[in-house]
Symmetry: C2
Subunit: 163 residues, 2 copies
DNA sequence: ATTCAATTGCAACAATGATGCAATAATGTT
DNA sequence: AACATTATTGCATCATTGTTGCAATTGAAT
């Protein structure tokens, strides 16, 4: 199955991230279309989570997702839906150094990405995906190979410095 | 309070890590002496944890620490002891991308360290502190400042590649 | 040996991850 | 528009981990 966005053809398997990037950043597609593109049913919880994440620039925790409507969905439903969205490559989970977890949309082309870096404000707890240029080099012990690198930069965001 | 190791004087507050580094890597001091240097009582759980971590090159999880003697200490005691040792700067906790936690000795001079990087073997689950040269550069949004950077490199260790 | 503060074990609770199962909802078909 | 089928949801439930209070115990200074 192929579909076309902005005159570029993508197979659904190999390039959904690019499509989604155009979606979320250029607002060409709706939540429903994202789900359809990934062969997922248009259910309430999925629409809600994607809607919230699309509205938010920052990554969101399970609690932050529940904030607006605490009892809209069962805890397990939220948990399973987040897992499904993660498995399908629509969102990713970010594990912070304090052991908490946040979720964010995969707004970019992640397929070949091996470096996942995020910023965590120690004051307001906001988490952002670092989309700018990021370099990482580590000297590994002999014979070791690296596959993926996860980085969390802890610091203060611009808003919190002002205050 | 000052004390002397290898003809170099260190104030206890500012340089305990250096002392400890000499300790653990050069085997000048015992577990008891480490505890004494940090003004901590010589208790069973502390001696056990430090002993296990000193024996092990890799970081250890709570379960790995309990493996040899499952019922030697209460779960809460282990938890609190790990916290004490972390608070005193003797060990550090490593949060992996799968949400699990491991602990390792602060074998190096960590005071000015802002980059904490670890290797996690996806096959055998072993975690090592990356002591070699490690560089990290990230372009942060305008006005943001970074304080600490936590890195986890996921991959395969030499032993697991051979197999 | 005594004393005092620190440490430990136990009970208990919260938060989170995870699974089974029956009820319900979403989509393609008639 | 109703139906059938499969996926999704809510509920019950359990495991694991983080956390605190309190009374009993232990470490080490005297």
């Amino acid at each position: 199955m192929f579909f076309c966005v902005k005159n570029i053809e993508y197979s659904q398997n190999s390039c959904t991230f690019v499509v989604q990037y155009q979606l979320t950043c250029c607002c060409i597609m709706t939540v429903e279309e994202i789900l359809h593109a990934h062969d997922l049913k248009n259910t309430g919880c999925r629409k809600y989570i994607l809607g919230e994440l699309l509205k938010s620039e920052a990554a969101m925790s399970e609690n932050e997702l529940k904030e607006s409507y605490p009892d809209l969905f069962d805890r397990v439903t939220l948990y399973r839906t987040l897992k499904t969205l993660e498995d399908r490559g629509i969102i990713h989970r970010i594990v912070l150094n304090d052991n908490t977890v946040k979720y964010a949309l995969n707004r970019h082309h992640h397929e070949d990405d091996k470096l996942h870096s995020h910023f965590h404000c120690e004051k307001c707890d906001e988490v952002l995906c670092l989309d700018g240029v990021t370099h990482f080099d580590a000297e590994l012990p002999k014979g070791f190979i690296s596959k993926e690198v996860f980085v969390v930069v802890e610091g203060l965001c611009a808003d919190c410095i002002k205050k």
